[in-house]
């Protein structure tokens, strides 16, 4: 093959490719920008046939090129420069409809290149190549939006993780606080108990020891009660015993129970109770707990000689309980977290005020359950705080208005103020020796005769043998529990003790436990740790109350 024919062959191939085969638009012009070549791709996408454009000036055919200042690109090409035109900065070179509208573009998105055509060192024209990049751009946009969605997801996961970590940290702080709060009274109890065991205390010191042990045990019982309340609230197991009640009685009872503590600190308790405020619909025990928690909180955070004001008033369709104090106040930062669980403004180990930070959270939850609202206001640290509880008002006074419950936190009742149990024979069943002994001491102190049994089997024997007047039985015992014992007793004829008045003693303090206890044949439910005064009162009231099968 000669050189000439080889060149001819190549030229033919290039022309064929350019015109028929290329998957790009190809335009050639002379040095005056008159169109010399217009391939099939251009025909297909512009709708202009080669015969219509060849010989015409490119800038006249497409005035848009000049409007969009792309004419300069041709000027530079004619000066010998190669120019690349990106889709991102130009969108397109020559306007053409998109091949498919699926990608969301009406215009075909193009990338272009304009090159000089040279011959013997002289520019004789231009070559324009146009590429359809619509699909690529759509794909890239899709990918980018996926990346953005992913990074948003990552960001939200990160947020969730840091929230979880924060909750975990709060839990850790809480556990640290709880062990501290539980151990503190325990230290006092164990320390004094140890000294009593050694028997080296003077009578005055022994009295002080007992007093301290009692006070600390009581405070620990309160911690446990709070924790149980929280756990019930969290698990949704807290049920309100709703009746129509007189709020003023309840508030008065709570004030009475807190007054000794306020007196010790020289805090003045001022009350403004509107008699028209009641009645409301609610759980008397829980409402008293709400007021008591608010008052305890106020006493705790009010310095000596301060003032606490309790106001109950009716406003339109609701009743407001307002407890304000002249105490340490609440910082603006902590204010939104006052009702959060496990939160105390000062969580440090050196803090002055003890407690678990549960009281106000319980208040909030209990008020919620009553369909009311709790809010707090403070002008800042050192400026006191005001807690406001709103409860829905019940318009009609029920004829069977319930009495307010007795104060949940009664003061220590001296033994000599208790009813006498003289002449009563009490059978105490418990597998724990300490509990048995404690109960025996308390009951003996009040004059009753006490028989002790370690198990259900022993108890049945004791009933047969001693014919006791009253039964106090633990529920959780190995081999045979208290439920089984009472059902066997109730199966006995009356003369063999089948109707003996009975109280169950248990650490299971939930409402459903109480129900089960009463259904199984006991008349009373005494939660552990047992309060001496409560025990004596229960035994006294059981005396002469033979079990009646309903």
């Amino acid at each position: 093959m000669t050189a000439v024919s080889k060149e001819n062959l190549l030229n033919a191939a290039v022309l064929h490719w350019m015109h028929d085969l290329a998957a790009q638009g190809i335009i050639t012009t002379d040095h005056e920008l008159n169109v010399a070549g217009w391939n099939q791709w251009m025909e297909a996408h512009t709708g202009k046939r080669a015969s219509e454009v060849i010989g015409h000036n490119l800038l006249d055919l497409f005035p848009e090129l000049t409007e969009r200042r792309l004419d300069r690109q041709y000027k530079w090409a004619l000066e010998g420069q190669v120019r690349v035109l990106s889709q991102a900065l130009h969108s397109y070179l020559i306007s053409m409809p998109a091949v498919s509208v699926e990608q969301g573009f009406a215009q075909m998105q193009q990338a272009g290149r304009i090159s000089p055509l040279s011959h013997e060192g002289r520019v004789i024209g231009t070559l324009t190549i146009i590429e359809d990049v619509t699909e690529r751009v759509a794909r890239e946009a899709e990918l980018q939006s996926q990346i953005e969605a992913r990074s948003k997801l990552l960001a939200s996961e990160k947020l969730a993780r840091s929230e979880a970590e924060r909750a975990n940290r709060l839990k850790d702080e809480f556990l640290a606080t709880i062990s501290h709060e539980l151990r503190n009274p325990l230290n006092a109890i164990m320390g004094w108990a140890h000294m009593m065991r050694l028997g080296k205390l003077t009578p005055a010191n022994a009295e002080r020891a007992v007093e301290t042990i009692y006070r600390n045990a009581k405070s620990q019982a309160q911690l446990v009660a709070d924790l149980l309340d929280v756990s019930r609230i969290i698990s949704g197991k807290l049920r309100l015993d709703v009746r129509t009640i007189d709020l003023i009685n309840i508030v008065n009872a709570a004030i009475d129970s807190i007054r000794p503590a306020a007196d010790v600190k020289g805090i003045r308790l001022q009350t403004m109770l509107d008699p028209a405020a009641g009645p409301i619909s609610g759980d008397a025990d829980r409402l008293q707990q709400i007021v008591w928690n608010l008052l305890t909180n106020a006493v705790k955070f009010t310095p000596k000689g301060g003032k606490i004001q309790v106001k109950v008033q009716r406003i339109d369709s609701h009743v407001e309980i307002v407890v304000s104090d002249s105490g340490v106040g609440i910082s603006k930062e902590f204010l939104p977290h006052v009702f959060d669980r496990f939160r105390q403004a000062d969580a440090s180990t050196t803090r002055i005020h003890g407690g678990l930070g549960l009281g106000l959270s319980i208040v909030h939850q209990l008020v919620d359950l009553h369909g009311g609202g709790a809010s707090v206001h403070s002008d800042g640290e050192g400026k006191g705080a005001t807690f406001t509880i709103t409860l829905p008002f019940v318009g009609v006074i029920s004829s069977q208005q319930e009495e307010a419950a007795e104060p949940a936190q009664e003061e220590v009742t001296p033994f000599d103020g208790l009813p006498s149990l003289r002449g009563l024979k009490v059978l105490v069943v418990d597998d724990e020796a300490d509990t048995r002994e404690l109960i025996r001491e308390v009951l003996k102190e009040c004059g009753s005769e006490v028989i002790l049994s370690r198990s259900a089997a022993e108890a049945l024997e004791a009933i047969e043998q001693h014919k006791p007047d009253i039964l106090i039985s633990d529920l959780g015992m190995p081999d045979e529990d208290g439920y089984s014992l009472i059902s066997k007793i109730r199966a006995l004829p009356a003369e063999q003790g089948g109707q003996i008045p009975a109280a169950a003693l248990t650490a299971y303090a939930r409402a459903e436990d109480r129900m089960r206890v009463l259904r199984s044949g006991f008349q009373f439910h005494l939660p552990k740790p047992v309060d001496s005064a409560e025990l004596v009162t229960v035994v006294a009231s059981l005396a002469g109350r033979a079990y009646q099968q309903s």
Binding site: R69, G80, Q81, A88, L89, V137, S151
Partner: protein
């Protein structure tokens, strides 16, 4: 070969004219004010180039490479480090809500166009100065390490080559992206360029 202070100043001034044109072109294209910092010029032997650039581009380099031919011939490159290249395209296109992490095809196209504008402006300016006609190859974008890049431009070992390294930075929308312009010339081409710079500088003084 070393530039005198006056030569370096004159060359910087000339290149700054090309930078101003580039800035104007990019501002018009993007709708944002784009300014290129006044150039700082230095001459290195190609063997020294690696040491001169290594500190700036420790990882992958994005380069836009154009070969020019004619009485003055050589390689012209715009060099950006990879992160800088991503940032520059983001700033010029502002299409994404989140900063990109890689250069997609469209971003590469934009970079190629930016390099094309800048290199054409500078080489065109040199051509005018030397009164010679320079032809350009199609600009190519490369993503590679600095060593791979330098290996690709210093192929002709028969003649000593020098590199004119022009340091600048793109200023767009309160952000700054550093870049290097590297023009590799034969010793003869560089000689001729410096002579013309001297002449131009002398004319400016008149």
């Amino acid at each position: 070969m070393k530039l005198t202070e006056r030569q370096a100043d004159a060359l910087s001034e000339l290149i700054n004219i090309a930078f101003a044109r580039t800035g104007a072109a990019l501002s018009e294209l993007t709708g944002h004010r784009v300014v290129l910092n006044p150039p700082e010029v230095a001459v290195y032997r190609t063997e020294e180039l690696r040491g001169a650039l290594a500190k700036f581009v420790p990882g992958d380099v994005a380069s836009i490479h154009q070969v020019f031919a004619g009485p003055v011939a050589g390689d012209a490159l715009l060099l950006l480090n990879y992160a800088g290249a991503v940032q520059l395209t983001d700033l010029l296109t502002e299409g994404h809500q989140q900063p990109s992490v890689f250069l997609d095809e469209s971003a590469r196209e934009v970079l190629t166009e930016v390099g094309n504008i800048l290199l054409n402006a500078c080489l065109g300016m040199f051509g005018n100065l030397l009164n010679v006609h320079v032809t350009f190859s199609v600009p190519r974008l490369h993503l590679e390490t600095l060593d791979e890049l330098l290996g690709s431009i210093t192929t002709d070992k028969t003649e000593m080559h020098f590199a004119l390294v022009i340091y600048t930075a793109f200023q767009i929308r309160d952000s700054s992206v550093k870049g290097f312009l590297v023009i590799v010339l034969s010793v003869a081409s560089l000689d001729r360029l410096i002579q013309e710079v001297d002449v131009w500088e002398a004319q400016q003084g008149k």
